[in-house]
Symmetry: C2
Subunit: 330 residues, 2 copies
Amino acid sequence: MNDRQRELLKIIVENYIKTVKPVGSKSLVKKLKCSSATIRNDMAYLESLGYLEKTHLSSGRVPSETGYKYYVDNLMKPKEISGDDVLKLQTILSNKDLEVSDAILKCMEIISEITNYTSIILGKESKDQKLKQVNIVPIDNRKVVAVLITNTGHVENKQTMISESIDINEIVKSCEIINKNLVGTPLGEINAKLEYEIKPIIASKIKQYEEVMIFFQEAFNDFTFKRSDVFFTGKTNILKQPEYNHPDKIKGIISKLENIELIKKIETDNQGINIYIGEESKFDEDVTIIKTSYKLKGEEGTIAIIGPKRMEYAKVVYLLQFLKNYLERE
Amino acid sequence: MNDRQRELLKIIVENYIKTVKPVGSKSLVKKLKCSSATIRNDMAYLESLGYLEKTHLSSGRVPSETGYKYYVDNLMKPKEISGDDVLKLQTILSNKDLEVSDAILKCMEIISEITNYTSIILGKESKDQKLKQVNIVPIDNRKVVAVLITNTGHVENKQTMISESIDINEIVKSCEIINKNLVGTPLGEINAKLEYEIKPIIASKIKQYEEVMIFFQEAFNDFTFKRSDVFFTGKTNILKQPEYNHPDKIKGIISKLENIELIKKIETDNQGINIYIGEESKFDEDVTIIKTSYKLKGEEGTIAIIGPKRMEYAKVVYLLQFLKNYLERE
DNA sequence: AGTTAGCACTTCTTTTCTTCAAGTGCTAGT
DNA sequence: ACTAGCACTTGAAGAAAAGAAGTGCTAACT
C-alpha cells in the first residue's frame, strides 16, 4: 500500500462520512491528481485488501469495517473542535458547585449536541465506596426505611414491611451495632462482614436476629445493585442519521437502547479511548461505539458515544480525550 | 340513527380496530343480514353525521374521532379479559411486601404486555405527604448530604458543597431545630414555615443563618420537585402498531415520549376513567390516551395507557377500571 | 318507504417496462 | 506505471398498464 493508496483510503472514508454516498473514481480525479482509471486500479487493490466494499457490482466504494479500522488506527488525525465548544465544556468542568456526575452528564449533553450522536454514561457500582452511615427510620408499626450513605455522599434507601413479630427497637439497636462496626467498610466487603462479624454480635443481643439480619442483608443488597446507573443524552440523535431511515432499523436500534442490560455491557476494561466498529461493538452491526472510562474521587464509570459506523471519528475521539484528560488531571 | 345503524357503526369500529383496514360494505352483508346497497346507504348517512370517514373517494369507511367517541360512550361494553391475566394482577396486588408504587408498576407492566400498548405512571408530587425526619450527614469538611424522609417512607437527598465560612456544626444544629419544629408538616407548607417560623429561631442561635437557610431551602425545594416521577412500561410497544410504520411518524412519537414535560401534562383532574382520542389527547393526533387517577395512603398519581386511536377500548377500560377499583377498595 | 340489484366511475396498488445516470473492469495504447 | 476509451452492470425513477376494492346513483322490487 503506497502513499497514494493510503491517501485514497483516507479520502474515501472521510468523503463517505460526510456524504453517506458511495464514492466513485471520477469524483476524486482533482484531489489525487491522477486519472480515474488509476484510481479505479487502486480502489480495486484496496478492495482486494479488504478495506473497501461495493454496495453492488457497479457502485462506488464504501469503507468496510476493516477499512474504518485502518483509518482510525493509521490515517485519522484527532480534529480540534471550535473554541466555542471547548469553552462550554470547560465552563461546566470548572464549576466547583457541580457534583462530578452532574458535570459529566452536562458535558455529555453538550457533546451529543455538537456531534449529533447519542451519549451513554454508565456510573459503575463502585465497590471502593465506603459505608458512611446507616439510619433506620420507623414509618409506622410495620414499615421501616433504611437509609444508607457512602463516603462519596451517595444515598440509597430501602423500604420494607417487617413481620409483626419483630420489634422495631431491635432493628434500631442492630443498626447501631452496624454503624459501630461497619462504617468505613468498602461496599464490596459489606456482605461478608455482615455475615461473619455482625451476625454473631447481633445474635447474642437480639432475639429475632435472623429476621433482622435478613432485613439488613436485603437493604445492602439493593444498595450495591442500584448503584449502577445508566444515563443517556441525545437518545434520539441516532435516529437523525440517514442510515436509520427505515422503520425496522429504527425499531431495532430503539429497543436495543431501551434494553438496559445490553447497555450495561458497554464497559471499558482498559485505559484510553476504545473504538468498536460495527460487529465489534457487540451492540448493533450498524453502529460504532467509542468509549472510555473515567475514575476520580470514588466516582468511576464509563462514558460512550454511539453513532453510525461512518461516525466523525476524529471529532468524537478528540472530544472524549479532552473530557477524560480534564477529569483525570484533577 | 336506528338500531341497525348503531350496530353498523359498532361493527365498523371493532372491525377497523382489529384489521386496520378500511371497512367495505360487501364484507358486512352476512353480519347485518341486508344487502351491500343498504349498508352503503347507512354508511353514507353515518358519514353525514360525522361518525365515519373515507381515506379516499372510493375506499371503505374508517371511524372518525367523533365516531370513536360515540362508540366509546354508547356502544362499547367493557370486555372481560382472560382469568389468567386477572390472576396475575391480583397476585401482585395482594403481595403485601410490595410497596404500593412498585405494585402499580408491575401491574402496568403486565397490562402493557396484555395490550401491547405503552403505559405511563405519573407519581404526583403529593403535597399531603408530611415530613418525617431530616438528617444531616457530613461527608467531609466541605460536603454535606441532607436526607429527607416523609411519613410515607419516601426518601430524597441533596448533596451540597458548603462555603468554607460555614461551620458544619451550625448546619447540624439547625437541622435539629427543623426536626423539632417541622416534623409532621405537609410538604406543601414547608417552604412557608421555613421562612416564617424557622428562620427567626435560627437567626437568633446561628451566626451565618442566611447561608444555612439557603442550604435547607434548596434541599426542600429539590425534594418537592423530584417527587414527581414518570415511569414507562412497554415504551416501544406503540411502535408495533402498524400506524407507526413510517420513519417520520416513529421519530415523532419517540421524541414525544422522551419529552418528560409533555408527558407530565397527562394528568387526570377528575374521577373515573378518561378517554382522550386523537386531537383531544393533546399529545399526538394519532393516539388515544386512556387515563385515570389513583389515590391511597399518601400515594397519589395518574396511570395512563397510550396507544393508537384504534385502541382496544373495551379491554383497556376494563383493565384500568379493575386496577383502580382494587387500589381504592383497600 | 325501505331495500336491493346493477353498473359506471374513482382511486389506490401492484406490476411491468423503459430509460437514465453512475460507475466499474478490462483492453490497448502511451 | 499511467491513461483513454468502451462495453457492460446495476439501481433508481418514472410511465404505463392491469387489477382490486369500493362507492354513488338509478331504477326496480316488496
